[in-house]
Symmetry: C2
Subunit: 165 residues, 2 copies
């Protein structure tokens, strides 16, 4: 691969823009492999974000309302019914939920475990943000986006900071 492929000084932008010491400056960049791994991990996480949102919400609906109906999932996610239908098909295909046509949705054991894990993370992140001084509304809001990108290590620190109770 290219790796740290030599970027010489004879390139137009180099002399005009910076003016001095590209090679010396290059030291300040992270190692390309490290950076690539970080981005790959983020993309990995992105791929499960939607599924996690659905599973977490389905669990919540089942627990608090007795069942998870597509119409409620759609309302609470702010998407249209056909979008929900298609996503539920994928979740079923992946063995995370079970469903019968025109009926509400159930979690498989695997789906239940993921949902529980997500809920735990979500709550830690919310409590952490609240403890940091954020208002309830913004905390909930930001947690929804942040929770999918918090490593186990970071989550542990969040939990610790949020308070030992």
């Amino acid at each position: 691969m290219t790796d740290q492929s030599p970027v010489q000084a004879d390139l137009p932008a180099a002399d005009t823009a910076g003016g001095a010491g590209e090679e010396a400056r290059a030291h300040e960049m992270r190692a390309p492999e490290m950076q690539a791994e970080a981005f790959q991990a983020v993309r990995q996480a992105r791929r499960s974000e939607v599924a996690e949102d659905y599973l977490e919400l389905i669990a919540e609906l089942i627990e608090l309302m007795g069942e998870a109906r597509p119409v409620d999932i759609a309302t609470r996610l702010g998407v249209r019914a056909p979008t929900v239908a298609k996503t539920l098909d994928r979740l079923a295909r992946d063995g995370l939920i079970t469903r019968a046509r025109y009926r509400s949705v159930f979690l498989t054991e695997e789906g239940r475990q993921i949902a529980e894990e997500c809920r735990r993370r979500h709550e830690i992140v919310v409590r952490f943000l609240l403890r940091l001084g954020l208002d309830q509304e913004t905390a909930e809001q930001d947690a929804e986006g942040i929770e999918h990108h918090v490593s186990a290590r970071t989550l542990a620190l969040f939990a610790e900071f949020a308070g030992r109770d």
Copy 2:
């Protein structure tokens, strides 16, 4: 819309699963509109994540290596060259970069501003995580995912906690 559409007790899952008081329990859920807005905001943020990653990296490459070449972008993002090419086309279409065929990439004024904003956020998040006790490696890693989902309000608290210097 459905809103808080009546979920009656004559549905199969309701009686068997929960057993008691769906309506009372429903109180514990967030308001559907609030929840929907939160998820919509997250989806909104998701749509700019990739663009922000590119712009931030392009700015970094230009500053530290004198220019931003597609091959380096690909290496550091951990994706293939054609993926970069297509994304750069989108960024150019959206007026965030300029480019000539077979040449390296430049930021427009708008792109530059977004990149700068992203970099600022990124650094705050990293410093915050480090201050929290995380190792450099994980901090960089998690920041890459978290930075796109931090509201202005939360960012301010992060900055405060990290300590302004």
